[in-house]
Subunit: 222 residues, 2 copies
Amino acid sequence: MRRLFHLPLSPFCRKVRLTLGEKRIEAELVEERPWDRRIDFLRLNPAAAVPVFVTMEGSVLSDSNAICEYLEETGPEPRLLPSDPIDRAEARRLVAWFDDKFHREVTVNLVYERVNKRLKKAGYPDSAFVKAGAKNVKHHLEYIGWLIEGRKWLAGDELSLADFAAAAHLSCIDYCGDCPWEISPAAKDWYARVKSRPAFRPLLADHIPGFPPKPHYADLDF
Amino acid sequence: MRRLFHLPLSPFCRKVRLTLGEKRIEAELVEERPWDRRIDFLRLNPAAAVPVFVTMEGSVLSDSNAICEYLEETGPEPRLLPSDPIDRAEARRLVAWFDDKFHREVTVNLVYERVNKRLKKAGYPDSAFVKAGAKNVKHHLEYIGWLIEGRKWLAGDELSLADFAAAAHLSCIDYCGDCPWEISPAAKDWYARVKSRPAFRPLLADHIPGFPPKPHYADLDF
């Protein structure tokens, strides 16, 4: 059986879970808190980070990008990268936008401050970081709104890894109740479309002990 | 003519330059300091980051990973990703290791503190960061040494983007004189092999005004 070592509120793991779900590839989910630095887990990934994906044949893959590209190269339809190389570059640019820029400016400041710090018993959220994240998320929602006004999905006419990267981060923010959807009706409409896909359902059922999701989190009509 | 907007001591730009060089794809280099937030540059890449690559046809690509994958998909031989999907995932894992983990633990602490801060007129290097970077680079050199003892190149039998990502970061560290090669003769031997490739030559000729490279930087027998 394939296995995915993951954390429920890791946007990188969520991107892989959405990719697996969309392609209907079954994998056993194993929760791993990488900061525990479990020896057997470090043997799988010396970077001590989730996600880690173990194939049917026992090959061990880490880094969410490497895993998603592997699933795209070897897994079944639907394709999650466009066929044209320039369009693929645009999808990959947006994946990096969210996994790098959005992550640094928003996810780290909101989700890691509010949730991971508590899970790690590393103190209370720093209000300066939370404030910065709350400010930054507005610009990103505006950018999504601007992109989606000219396109059906974030990177073009087809659903792609760009949508999953973006929705993975936003869903973590939304879990914490930190997503000001009123900023951009277009972004909200796009998120509602991603959220209603069957691949998204397992993410909406996530529940962190001691840190329940906000009431609207799993609501498709939010 | 193709154009690459770059910064000489950006490891992400260097990875793209090595990829262009190895594939013998000509491109005009345009130096861009993204922190100047030049309007015409922000129109090319709203993330305000280098590298940005403009194709012959005028398509604008950003994010070093998206650019390298594009060059790999459309450019000439040699291939810089293995043909087997599992091996490709290993190469991509290592690219992420250097562009994410090494970057955060070493490059930011050493190169950005010493050079970028000065270029941005943002003050003096913080010795706590420099100390942390100097400590962390040792572990990474050991990891490279460990990898290369079982493989010809970092990701396997063939030169790949993994070698270019690693050498791009290490060459920036080495420019500043911060690479303790004595830690790992195997890592040093591997770097000497990458450094001696023709694609590397333009990087060895880089010279930041006011911050010249250490004397051994361009020396192939260092």
